[in-house]
Symmetry: C2
Subunit: 574 residues, 2 copies
C-alpha cells in the first residue's frame, strides 16, 4: 500500500487556493500510484485560522469547499483533508461549537470524520477557544491496514517520554488498544530551534514503545509570526527514521506500507539540518517570503544603518525577494560615523541591492526648530534620540506607501526585550524579521552566513562586511554612543533574558546562576517597562520556544511585586 | 449575619498594594460589624494577570502574600480572597498547573480553598491557558448559613436563561443540591454596554428559579483594554435587587442575611445607570484614569484637530486627569481649515486645557524636499497624506517623551475597522481612548455631554463647540477632503460594521438587511486589509461585545475566500 505525504503550504482562509493545491497534489500522488494521501492539520483553511473560525460564514464556506473537493479528487485515492465540523451537541450538552477535524474523502465523497482529541491551549495555541475535544479514538480501515489517526497535539502526551502528563487521556494508547497497525499524525507544528530533534526522538520513542510504524505530516510555510518547517517524517516499528520530507519547502513524499511485515519500507530521507544557524536562516527566509507573498507584496524596503541587525535582515530579504526587489535606505545623521555609511554601502554591493541615501539632518533641524519654544531649557535626551529614529521610520514608511513595498523592521530580540528600540521609529514595519533572534545569535548567523556560498545572495562568501562584525554595536543617536553604555555585554544580557523569558526563571535563580543582583533586577524591570512597545510591534518571526508574539500575553498597566523574599519586608511597612 | 462586599480596584501584579487594600477594607468592614468580607475574583493579583501566571516566582509570591495577609486580618472576620493554588495532580493526571482560587481566611489562617469550575476561553478570556477546572461544589459553612461559592463564569451556565448550555456542568445546580442557603459569586466581569442589565436579569432569574438569595461581587477599575464597572449586586430570594454598589468606583457595601427568613434584607441600592452615554462616559474616564495611574502617568497630551474625535477624547482626558494636566497640541497644515483651529481653541478654552500650536508645513516641506528625487514623477497620494499624520505623531511623541506625559490617541472604532487612520501617525499613543466607540456613538456622546453639567470639566453645558458637531468630518489631509469621499455615511458604515464585527453576520445576511452588495464586500475587504494596522495599535478601551483588542485575534497574511455562494463558481475555474 502506497501512502503519500502532501507537505503543503496553505494560505490562511484561501479555501479556493488551498483546495486547488490539495487537488493538484492528489492528482500527482495518484499518478505515482498512491492509495492514500495525507495532508496537514486544517489543510483546507491553513493553520492557524484564528478568529476566522468564529464567523459562521467561514465554517459554511469550509463545508462548501470540502463538498467541491470531494467531487474533484481521484476517486480511487483515499484523501485525508483537514477541516472543521460542527459540534451538534453544543446546544444541549455545552462545549465549543466546532471540532478540529480530518475528513476522509474517497470515491467522490466524505466517508468519515475524525476529531482532534487534545487541544493545545498555551503559547501561541488557542484551540480551547474554538474547539471541542473529540471523544473517540480515530480509526480508518483501508483494507490492507488499520490506520490510527491523530491530529498534532494528540501525539504529544506520552507520559513516559515527557516525564509528566499534560492531558488526562493519551489518544495513542487508545489507538494501540484498538489495534491500529500504523499511526499517522496530521500536524501543523510551528518551528522553533531544536523542535525537529524533539519530534523525531518522540516519534522514535512511540514507534519502539508500541512496536508500530508512525507517519508524521507537517504543514510548511510562514503564517504571520509562525513558521512551519515541514520535515514530515516516517518511522518504522524499530524506531528508525525511514523517510523525511524537505525542510522549509513543500514536498510530496511517497511511502510503502508492507502488510506482511506490518511496517513501512525505507524511502527518501532528506538530510537532517544539523547546523542551528542554517536552520534559523532557512526559517527566516521562508517566513519573510511567505508573509510578503500572502500579503501581496513582491518588493521590500528596509533601513540600512551599517549595523549588524540591518545587515542580516538585508541578506534575509535578498534571499526572500531577490536582490532586484530589495531597496536599502541609508539615513545618516550628524551622529552617524563614516564607517556606518561605508559598511552599509559595502553590504548592499555584496548583496546586489539598490540603495538610496536620505540624510536626516534637515528633518532633525526642522523638528528642533518647531519644538524649540516648547523644549526651551530642557536637556537633549531620549525625546531627541527617538525623533531621529522616527524621522527614519517616517521616510521608510513613505517609501513603502509610495511604491507598495513591504517595510521589514530590523530589531533583534534582545532590544525588543529591554526596549532598546524606538516605537514608531526603528520598530516600524509590516514584519519584524529577527525580532525573536537574540543579539548574540545575530552575530552567530552573520559569521555563519559569511562562510556560505549562496546563489540567492549577490555573491558567495563574506557578504557581511568584516567591520560590521567587529565594531562595537551602536544606535548612533548621540555622539560616541555605544549599546554597552546602557546595556551589559550582550553575552550577559542574552543569558539573563534567556533564563527569564524562555526558562521562566525567577530573579533568585538567575542571581544564583552568577549574575549580579542589581543587574538582574534592572533587566527584569526593563523587560516589564518595554511591554507597551512590544504591544505595538509588528509580527515578529518566531524561532524560539518563547517569542514576544501571539504567545506572549502580558499586562501593561501592571506592577511587578519584587520577589517573594521581599514581600515580608515591605508588606505592612506601608 | 453581616456580609460586606469589597468592590476593589487592584493593580495587576501589585501583590503588596492589593493585599494592603484588602487589609484596610477588612478593618473597615470589621469596624462596621461585618462577619464576612467578600472580595472579587483573583483580588490578590488583580484580573486578568495573563502570562504573569506562567512564572513560578509569581505564583510563589502570591502564596507568600496570602500567608502575610492571613496573619494581618481581623481574626473574627471571614475573608474570601481571590488567588491561585497549585494543581498538585498535574504531573500524574495531566491538566493545567493552577486553579483559579478563592481562599477562606479566618482566625489568622487559611481555612479552605475553593476552585473555579467553569473557565471562560473566548473573547478576551484565556482561562484554559492557565487553569484546571475545579471538580467539586464549593461550600462554606459560617454557622448561620451555608454559603455556596461560585467564581465569575461559574454563574453563567444557566441553560434555562440562555436557551443553551455553554458547559457540561452547572455549578449553581450542584450548590442547590448541596443545600446552599445563599449563593455568592466573586467576579471580575468586564464592562460592555448592556452588560449590567444582563447580569441583573440573570441574577434575578437564578434567585427566583432556585428560591435563594444571591450576592454578586465585581472588581472595579481599568486594566489595559478592560474596564471593570463594579456595580456589585445582591438579590433576595424573590428576585428583587436589594443592594447595588457604585458604578465605576470602589465601594464597600454591607448586607444583612437573616437566618430565619433565609434571605437578605434590603440595603443600599445605588441607582442603575440608565443612559448608555452616561455609562460609556464613566467607563472611558475610568479606563483612561486607571491606565495612566497604574502606568505611573499623571499628565496627558493629545492632538487637537478641531474634529469630533479629538474633542471627545480631550473631554475624557480632562475628566480623568484634571484640566491642568492635559496638554492639547494643535498641528495645522496648509490643508487645515481655519474653523478647525478655531474649534480646537474653543474646545480647549471650554475645558480649561492648555494648548500649543505647532504648524507642520515646515516639516512637510522638509520631507517633500528629502524625498523629491525618489518620488519624482509620482502623484501626491496616500504616502504624502500619511506623512502629515506621521509628522503630527512624531511631534506628539516628542512631547510625551520629553515631559513624561501619556499620549492618548483619538481614533474611533469605525476608522479602526476600515483602516481610515495612519499607522505611526494618528494611531500613536499609549492608550486609544475611543477605539471601541463607533463614530455615530462619538456624536451621541458629544451631544449628551453638551447637556451635562460636570464639575470635573472646565465649565458646564456645551463643552463641545457647536460647529464640531455640525461640520462634515474630515481628516484634512488634502484640500477639500471629507471622510465621505472614501466612506459611506457613518450611519450606514456603522450598521454594516456592527453586523459584521459584533454580530458575526455574513455578507449575505448584511446584504439581506438592505445594504448594497458592492458596498458590503468593499467594507469587508477594508476591515480585512486593515488588520496589520490594528495589530500595531495601542490598547483600546473595550466598551462593546467585540472590540479590536485582546479578544480580536485575526490572521494578517490571509485571504478571504469570497463567501460560500461564490465558491462553486471559482473553484475549478483555476
Amino acid at each position: 500500500m502506497k501512502i503519500a505525504i502532501a507537505q503543503l503550504n496553505p494560505t490562511i482562509g484561501d479555501l479556493v487556493g488551498n483546495a486547488a493545491a490539495i487537488q493538484t497534489t492528489a492528482q500527482q500522488a495518484a499518478h505515482q500510484g498512491a492509495d492514500v494521501l495525507l495532508t496537514p492539520e486544517l489543510s483546507l483553511c491553513g493553520y492557524p485560522p484564528r478568529d476566522l473560525l468564529l464567523d459562521p460564514s467561514f465554517t459554511e464556506a469550509l463545508e462548501t469547499a470540502l463538498q467541491q473537493l470531494e467531487a474533484n479528487l481521484p476517486p480511487q485515492l483515499h484523501v485525508l483533508v483537514g477541516t472543521v465540523q460542527l459540534n451538534l451537541d453544543t446546544l444541549a450538552a455545552g462545549g465549543k461549537p466546532l471540532f478540529n477535524t480530518v475528513a476522509h474523502l474517497y470515491a467522490g465523497q466524505v466517508q468519515q470524520y475524525f476529531h482532534k482529541r487534545l487541544l493545545p491551549t498555551y503559547d501561541v495555541f488557542d484551540e480551547d477557544r474554538y474547539f471541542a475535544a473529540g471523544r473517540d479514538p480515530n480509526l480508518l480501515d483501508v483494507g490492507a491496514c488499520q490506520i490510527g489517526i491523530t491530529i498534532c497535539e494528540d501525539l504529544w502526551n506520552n507520559a513516559d517520554f515527557w516525564g509528566k502528563r499534560s492531558y488526562a487521556i493519551d489518544p495513542v494508547v487508545d489507538l494501540v488498544q484498538e489495534k491500529a497497525d500504523l499511526i499517522i499524525n496530521l500536524s501543523a507544528s510551528p518551528f522553533c530551534v531544536g523542535k525537529q530533534e524533539l519530534r523525531e526522538a518522540m516519534l522514535c520513542h512511540h514507534a519502539q514503545h508500541y512496536d508500530r510504524p508512525l507517519i508524521y505530516v507537517n504543514q510548511v510555510g510562514g503564517n504571520d509570526d509562525l513558521i512551519f518547517d515541514g520535515r514530515s517524517v516516517a518511522v518504522n516499528r524499530q524506531g528508525t527514521v525511514i523517510a523525511r520530507a524537505q525542510a522549509f519547502a513543500p514536498d510530496l513524499l511517497l511511502l510503502t506500507y508492507d502488510p506482511h511485515t506490518q511496517d513501512l519500507q525505507p524511502s527518501r530521507v532528506e538530510p537532517a539540518v544539523t547546523d542551528v544557524n542554517a536552520e534559523i536562516w532557512s526559517a527566516l527566509v521562508l517566513g519573510v517570503r511567505d508573509y510578503a507573498q500572502k500579503c501581496g507584496f513582491s518588493q521590500a524596503v528596509l533601513g540600512l544603518s551599517g549595523g549588524i541587525d540591518s545587515s542580516l535582515v538585508a541578506a534575509i530579504a535578498t534571499a526572500a525577494f531577490g536582490s532586484d526587489n530589495v531597496l536599502g535606505v541609508l539615513m545618516p545623521s550628524p551622529y552617524s560615523s563614516d564607517h556606518s555609511i561605508q559598511d552599509a554601502e559595502d553590504l548592499a554591493r555584496n548583496l546586489g541591492m539598490t540603495t538610496v541615501q536620505l540624510p536626516i539632518a534637515p528633518a532633525m533641524h526642522t523638528y528642533d526648530t518647531l519644538l524649540a519654544p516648547l523644549f526651551a531649557g530642557t536637556e537633549s535626551g531620549v525625546a531627541e534620540e527617538n525623533l531621529q529614529a522616527r524621522i527614519r521610520g517616517n521616510l521608510l514608511m513613505a517609501i513603502a506607501n509610495k511604491f507598495g513595498r513591504l517595510l521589514i523592521s530590523t530589531g533583534n530580540k534582545s532590544e525588543m526585550a529591554v526596549g532598546y528600540c524606538t516605537l514608531y521609529g526603528d520598530m516600524n514595519g509590516g514584519l519584524a524579521a529577527i525580532a525573536d533572534v537574540p543579539k548574540t545569535r545575530v552575530y552567530g548567523l552573520c559569521h555563519w552566513l559569511n562562510q556560505q556560498k549562496m546563489p540567492e545572495l549577490g555573491r558567495g562568501l563574506g557578504v557581511i562586511p568584516e567591520s560590521v562584525l567587529t565594531k562595537p554595536p551602536s544606535a548612533e543617536l548621540k555622539p560616541g554612543q555605544v549599546d554597552q553604555d546602557s546595556l551589559p555585554p550582550y553575552e550577559v544580557l542574552d543569558d539573563i533574558l534567556y533564563r527569564y523569558v524562555d526558562q521562566h526563571q525567577s530573579s533568585q535563580q538567575i542571581i544564583e546562576a552568577g549574575h549580579p543582583p542589581e543587574l538582574v533586577h534592572r533587566i527584569m524591570q526593563m523587560v516589564k517597562r518595554a511591554e507597551f512597545k512590544r504591544r505595538q510591534a509588528p509580527p515578529g518571526l518566531k524561532i524560539t520556544d518563547r517569542a514576544f508574539g501571539t504567545g506572549w500575553r502580558m499586562p501593561i498597566a501592571a506592577q511587578l511585586t519584587k520577589h517573594p523574599e521581599n514581600i515580608h519586608l515591605e508588606f505592612f511597612a506601608k
